[in-house]
Point group: C2
Chain length 352, copies 2
């Protein structure tokens, strides 16, 4: 068994996914999907029946099962850990819930310095069922890498400050501009929590991490650089010594791609608005790219999907490494068979 684990580990390291992240040549273009573990899969809806979202994220058996489902069904090149960006906040005792159809809702939105104390550091015991799931997954996954993940400080802060999802992030931006000291303290605490959460996942066996800054695209580059980048950098630095590729993704981030790479990403995720060859110009040659088929494309006829996917693959050749993905998460209404066909198409794509 020890031998098998040994060989599995080295197979993971030679996987197309990790090779593409590192900018090494691959046999095929590796592919995985954001939100592949859930929402659109009938087997996901079956195991989630009667279990609240946040409860499922703290149940080792469900995390393992749901993380495995898309790997079994699609043969994707990486498993994304089933969780939610607010999980570490819940784990340290923040009173929040994920409301179906709405998203994370925080009982007492962040308003002043006194509330900083509630944001204590994350201890391993807080997330024991979660790291147990990561450990179990490494055995189950064999030579398929596991991607750990966390939400970036700006996005986490925006849930805390707005109290829930927001179209304009008005209160968060108000805090940033009205009381930058308090903002930096809040974001700094969230960076430590996110960094510790990623670190625990890697120590439990994840072989890559993705830092999601879902809402960064609502910021101008100047605001991002001054108020957000230092904290995202701190998160990625927290796992810098662990020798795992660090992916950094946000949506609508065309103006921020270079800056998001510069905070310490090995791979920059790109949404569908920027062709990957343009993205490489903005990001520079020393990072790989991930993306970027428009998720709505999967509702089009198969020949349209293939034409657009081919365009993505060709544009991705401008990068030192390319991990195929959608430009955002899988939409809940997506036909799983369309995703399966897309994986086959990407894997079978002939490279010159």
């Amino acid at each position: 068994m020890a031998e098998r684990i040994g060989s599995v580990t080295s197979d993971v390291s030679r996987s197309d996914f990790l090779r593409a992240c590192r900018g090494e040549a691959t046999d095929r273009v590796p592919v995985w999907f954001m939100r592949q573990a859930g929402r659109s899969l009938p087997e996901y809806r079956a195991v989630r029946e009667g279990v609240a979202m946040l409860d499922s994220c703290f149940r080792t058996d469900l995390v393992v099962e749901i993380t495995m489902q898309p790997v079994r069904r699609y043969g994707v090149d990486a498993a994304i850990f089933f969780s939610d960006i607010v999980v570490p906040l819940k784990a340290i005792g923040v009173d929040l819930d994920i409301v179906p159809g709405t998203g994370p809702v925080v009982a007492e939105p962040f308003r002043d310095r006194a509330q900083l104390d509630a944001l204590r550091g994350l201890e391993p015991d807080d997330v024991a069922p979660i790291t147990a799931a990561a450990s179990a997954l490494v055995g189950e996954l064999g030579d398929t890498p596991l991607i750990g993940f966390a939400g970036a400080p700006f996005t986490l802060a925006s849930y805390l400050v707005e109290g829930g999802p927001s179209r304009d992030h008005r209160r968060t931006k108000q805090l940033m501009r009205s009381d930058p000291d308090l903002w930096h303290e809040l974001a700094g605490r969230l960076a430590r929590i996110a960094g510790d959460f990623l670190r625990l996942q890697v120590e439990a066996g994840a072989s890559a991490v993705q830092l999601f800054d879902s809402w960064a695209g609502t910021l101008s580059l100047a605001d991002y650089q001054e108020l957000v980048a230092p904290h995202s950098r701190a998160v990625l630095e927290a796992v810098a010594d662990l020798d795992v590729p660090r992916i950094h993704f946000g949506v609508g981030t065309g103006e921020l791609l270079g800056a998001m790479g510069d905070v310490g990403a090995d791979v920059v995720g790109v949404d569908w608005r920027v062709p990957l060859d343009d993205a490489v110009q903005r990001i520079g040659p020393d990072r790989s790219v991930q993306g970027n088929l428009d998720p709505t494309t999967l509702f089009a006829p198969a020949d349209v999907v293939e034409r657009q996917a081919a365009r993505v693959i060709e544009a991705g050749r401008a990068a030192r490494g390319h991990v195929f993905n959608l430009g955002h998460g899988v939409l809940p209404e997506t036909d799983p068979d369309a995703l399966a066909r897309l994986v086959d198409f990407v894997h079978g794509y002939e490279r010159d």
Copy 2:
């Protein structure tokens, strides 16, 4: 009286707003706000009390009053006609309503070719109370120009196809990709309606038009060019002979700015994500720009607002002409006094 109208007309033409649109030198940087006519003003909420949004758009007295309110209060350099992008659709008999807190909701979402017949051409009688308001406003406004407006075909189509606001525009994109012929017929009809609506507003006295493509920013450049640009061009061409500046605006359109100018805009509106000097690089030297203070900035202390507004004005000097505006509509919670101070700041800004 005839003389006065004659002199008013020529004063309008010499206004800083129209001069900036045409790329001529101005005494001050002209400023107006999207959604300045409504939502955040107490006098707006007072006259709207008990009147549904769409009803108010068809009442000549209310359109005149609401359009005038921000001009009186702020001394902005242009009045934006109080209306909604779905007004011409309502006017030709499409069964839709504007639901408070949601937005436009369409009773029978567009699904097939048989529904094209409902999208008949717009006749002057359909919008008689509206053009009457435009005519009345020209007298009331004196030397302040009136901006007419319409929704662009993609955005109008997205409401018709989705049945209401949508985060992902999945069904609209599905139609575009699955049945491009039907898409082009739908968008072509909407372009004629929007073009006719703009034309009627100008003939009634509007001295500029703004074409809103609120959702264009969800499209890749390739999709925009192939599926959307020809129809937006048709709208702007419908008023090309009327010698009024044509402003074209969408949000999150950093990748599309050049293309949105190229469909025939004299002024390209820019959201807060792209600094105006960068925007000029993308748009080219032959068009003016409009924008682009982040609307959430108005919730910050006055010195922060002024610093950011100064940055916008300085960046706008790269353009042949600059109309100051927010990068998106005024948020409903905005303090009217903050907007008043911003107008004064822009008007008082010292130019070299």
